[in-house]
Amino acid sequence: MEATTNGILVKAQAVTKVYHTDEVATHALRGVSTEITAGEFLAVVGPSGSGKTTLLNLIGALDAVTEGRLEVMGKDVATMSKRQRADMRLHSLGFVFQAYNLFPVLTAQENVEFVLELQGISERRSERAREALDQLGLLEFADRRPTQMSGGQQQRVAVARAIASRPRLVLADEPSANLDGENARILLDMMHDLNVREGITFIFSTHDPRVIAYARRVITLVDGRIDTDVVKKQDTDVNKE
């Protein structure tokens, strides 16, 4: 994926998304405009139905905007072919979902390795997968299947899978929603560490105060519109408490 000017990874201009079900039109996003730069640790918050997941899906090229313009890493997503969008997801984006969405028939290592295989990486693939698991403290669970792990462990495997291919941007949709306090803290610590040490940009959709505490920037959506966009002054431990 091409480098972006000014380090801007995401540029949304008056983005609108309307879902049509039967004869009912639901406005999930109404003219959202924002810019997200490389290295951010950003939380998109808001009540249920405010458009958080929709925004993440649009940024992740999983869905198409109805109106407006959305550039991800310098490319207008609307003009990209299905194949180009898949390539962007494969090589530049990582995803973490609330329901973990690991492949139940594969072990933790295979789940992580799968992404590398899709990228066509054959050299040191196993080692890289194990390194990613090690970063998340899961090396000893490498040969376990998701059903043999706790929710927190599964979500960490999902993060390992998301970062194994060294993406520039990780989109995490309610990653801590199913985790208890301790597991949520461990997960967020690890993602924060990856952000700080490796410069991976994280965008969370959440209404979890624990995640908001870690974020350096918080965009609040209400009824599909940006209500507030707050950049915190410092990334301090105080925020996480």
């Binding site: 999930a28 249920s48 139905g49 405010s50 458009g51 958080k52 997941t53 929709t54 993440l56 899906n57 992740g60 999983l62 869905d63 299905k82 194949r83 898949a86 390539d87 962007m88 997801r89 494969l90 090589h91 984006l93 995803f95 979902f97 609330q98 329901a99 969405n101 492949f103 139940p104 028939v105 594969l106 295979e110 390795e113 799968f114 992404v115 295989e117 899709l118 990228q119 899978r161 949709d173 309610e174 929603a177 959709s205």
Partner: protein, 412 residues
């Protein structure tokens, strides 16, 4: 080409619902087994009919005068038959041959008469190549080489003329330009079990028919090959070495009605096999579609990870290939066993044949034996694989069309 993890994913996905996977394999296998048995039956029936026609006198191939196919004139004789015979004898995969000449005439005994087609034969060749003689019950004896004044008639003809062994028949035959007559002594009465067939049997030696009709030579050379599969090559080779004004025809041209019957039987059995396979395919499609819909979130995740539609389709198709392979194994065991039984024990069709095994000068077997051979392995694989792959194309396409945003939507 899917990678090792993708292959593992596909293979292990088969173990999620083991019972469904096994049922899919068994369903595919049983359906394909039915198709195999149908094909075995069809192959056996076709082979049996062709063999019956060929061995009842038509041969796989027949060399005749070039006008015969259009006119069916019995007095037509081969041009330079000795050269034609040499070409037949040089034919690879030629099993047996026999020479005949025909004439139409009237047989009389006392005040009884019957029209007949009299066939001049070479007895030693006719006995070894004609199943009507081999399988029929002969009262008296058959003709001897170059025997003069002797005739063998069928039981029905004998009954119509009210003749017995050693009775003298007065035969009036149409010759080249004239009518010719001769006295023929009955040396044998043949009972094939078919009244129609027995009515048409009237054999004298080739020498006799030449003498009586005044037409020298041979009317036809019927050729039995080792197998019907050599027919096309033999026909081509013979056609290239034919003396002028002769032609080579196949059993299909000798018995067009039977050929049409064989073709319609084959088409019907293929239709039956096709319907069975279609039903199986719809079952597989339904099961695979259910499996795909159950795993929508997974396919959405694969798509979200960047897997291309083609790769998702390939992964689902791998599962189809595994089901197909399992189905082929079941088909081989079930279908192979049934086909083996059909090939070794056969089926007695006597009750369906109304005690009449003869039809249009052909003596059929009362037992049908299925076809059995190495072809079953390739057919089982091809049918099972093709069925499952074709039936999975739509579910695989559906899997590739899953919209990740829709399938993964949780909150927001």
């Amino acid at each position: 080409m899917p990678g090792t993890i993708a292959l593992k994913y596909a293979a292990r996905s088969m173990t999620r619902h083991t019972r469904r996977t096994i049922l899919s394999m068994v369903g595919t296998g049983v359906g394909c087994a039915m198709a195999l048995v149908t094909l075995s039956w069809m192959g056996g029936a076709t082979e049996m009919q062709v063999r019956a026609v060929a061995e009842s006198g038509a041969g796989h191939l027949r060399m005749v005068h070039q006008d015969w196919p259009d006119t069916q004139e019995p007095t037509l004789r081969l041009v330079d038959w000795e050269r034609a015979l040499a070409a037949v004898q040089a034919l690879p995969n030629m099993n047996k041959y026999t020479m005949r000449a025909h004439a139409t005439g009237l047989l009389a005994f006392g005040n009884r008469t019957a029209p007949a087609q009299i066939t001049g034969v070479t007895p030693e060749r006719e006995l070894t190549s004609n199943r009507i003689l081999q399988r029929g019950a002969l009262e008296g004896r058959y003709l001897e080489k170059d025997e003069r004044g002797a005739v063998v008639v069928g039981r029905t003809l004998a009954r119509r003329l009210d003749v017995q062994i050693d009775d003298a028949l007065y035969a009036t035959l149409s010759g080249k330009d004239d009518i010719h007559s001769a006295m023929l002594y009955i040396v044998g009465i043949l009972d094939t079990g078919s009244e129609d067939l027995d009515l048409g049997i009237c054999h004298i030696t080739l020498k006799d028919i030449e003498d009586i009709t005044g037409i020298p030579g041979v009317g036809e050379i019927s050729i039995l090959l080792d197998d019907e599969q050599y027919m096309k090559a033999a026909e081509t080779r013979l056609a290239a070495n034919l003396p002028p004004d002769n032609t080579v025809i196949t059993w299909r041209e000798v018995h067009p009605a039977l050929a049409a019957n064989v073709d319609s039987d084959t088409a019907f059995m293929r239709l039956m096999a096709g319907i069975v396979i279609l039903v199986v395919a719809l079952g597989i499609m339904s099961a695979q579609l259910t499996a795909v819909l159950e795993r929508r979130a997974e396919f959405a995740m694969l798509s979200a990870l960047g897997m291309k539609s083609r790769q998702i389709i390939s992964m689902v198709m791998i599962e189809a290939v595994i089901i197909g392979l399992g189905g082929a194994m079941v088909a081989l065991v079930v279908g192979g066993s049934c086909a083996y039984y059909l090939a070794t024990r056969g089926m007695d069709l006597t009750s369906f044949m109304d005690d009449d095994l003869g039809f249009a000068d052909v003596l059929f077997d009362p037992h049908l034996y299925g076809s059995f051979g190495a072809w079953l392995v390739s057919y089982a694989l091809i049918i099972a694989m093709a069925t499952t792959i074709c039936a999975t194309l739509y579910p695989a396409w559906k899997a590739a069309q899953v919209m990740p945003a829709d399938a993964l939507r949780t909150t927001g």
